[in-house]
Amino acid sequence: MALLTRARPRAAAAPPAGRGVRTRDGWWAAFFLAPQVLCLLLFLAFPLAFALVLAFVQWDGLGPVTFVGLDNLGAQLTSPAFLDATWNTIKIALITVPVGLGLAVAIAVGLNSIRGRAAHVYRVLYFLPVVTSSVAAALMWQIILADNENGVLNTSLERWFGISGPDWLFDPQWVIVSISIVTIWSSLGLNVVIFLAGLQTIPPQLMEAARIDGAGPWRTFRSITLPMLSPTVFFSTIVAVISSLQAFDQIYVLVDPYKNEGARTIVYLVWRLGFREFQLGPSSAAALLLLVLTLLVTLVQFAAQKRLVHYDS
């Protein structure tokens, strides 16, 4: 070990055997890192810096570039289109994250308490939408939700219950609900298996001890399962919030946001401004605000984590 780590004495003493063969070998490090670092610089870091510049200029991609300072950001923050898109995006997040994760926890706990083949089959059923293309998923749901003679949901409601269902895909009140249903349907299975993996790391002795102490199923869930699962829930919440703030694919296909104001999200606005109206400055400004919103929400979640998440050391 000492022979292999020709490092500073202080460092050589520090890493335990498990940390590995760490020779000071800058050239090899550069060689191994180069392809990823190059890709990250070219396709992530550089475009990000470019986006920061674009947010402060006026440019259509061809003509002259004019520096406009904070005008783009100010214009977005006061434009009804951006505010509506932000509100729509937040509404989708507020529905899909708690409902989606709540359902996933419930299903995972259920699956964890049954044994044998059946649990396995259910797991596969819940997981099928995860591997399905979002475009195909949106098309399948379109025919279920359509408000015409083809729409299965509304024709069923009409025939069996005499209810005339809402226009799921066009009524601005219901569009958000439809989008949320499809989004939850697509991501539920992934969260279920992640929670299931988390549940399986809880030592059975804990459950046993709680049972011996006379705790019922609900009490066990509240006092043992949920705290032990909370790091996994926290991680999944972060991922779910970020992905719902970036929602685009299924919405774009399910309800044409061009015709349907209620379905316009921030990413739709970024795409529309940038690639249909060629207003690169405003588009980048909206994208930057999305990034700020994402960071803010994530920071708030990390702050809340200290109080809500239980880490077993």
Partner: protein, 289 residues
Amino acid sequence: MAAITPTPGTPGTPRRVRPGQAALHAVLLLGGLAMLFPFVWMLLTSFKGVHQMINNPLDWLPDPWRPQNYPDALGKMPFGRAYWNSLYIAVVTVALTLLTSAMAAYAFARIRFRGSGVLFVLFLATQMVPIQVTLVPLYLMLARIGLVDSHLALILPAVANPFAVFLLRQFIRAVPVELEEAARIDGAGRFRIFWSVVLPNIRPGLGALGIITFLTSWNSFLMPLVFLNTEELATLPLLLQRFSGEHGAVEYGLILAASAIAVVPTLIAFLIGQRRIINSMAASGLGGR
């Protein structure tokens, strides 16, 4: 479990478990069937004709069965071509991602170099940046070097993957150092050790990452929508969306036949490898811990 250890004094407990289990099964099965319904309805509708859909929308079974929807859908747009495009883009993306991110992960896990801590934090930070933020500048950049409307515009940005580096670093750290030391004593160089000792020992990690990368690429929609114009270059999701846009709310049978063509092979592949796919995705979901 409770049936084996009945609580003394409450003789009802062991017997009560069975109806509870049955109810649980019923609820989970019902939920699972609800998840399955859109697929079933897609398949059934893909065999229906326009008349049946308008006159008897609640008929489950097609009457008459109209398999002609499939050749009709295939004839209207180059789905075969799109299939091939999606497949080879996904395979190339997976290969490049696995190789480059395993290399970077190896450097972070096993090579001592100045600034490795800072660089790793920077890697993690880039993971926070959503692709949508860089979309416009990326387009301008790729347009300048002539890559717009080419498949490289989809492959290269997808290879930049800090999450992959993070995931594989965890796996490499778990490989016993003794294996590498033995190879080194046998005279193997750095790259030889990486290729013949480290890579074979992180196969589960590579498999998990490969599956996730493949699915992400195969189902990706926003990037092809922005970067591809030529119909021959379209990926499967993009062509599917264009097809539904052109054939509107009328030819549902055709649209769902096209959707089935796109979805069913993926589902079959998933069912064949489901145990591994589900386990890898669950494991990498926990990878952040």
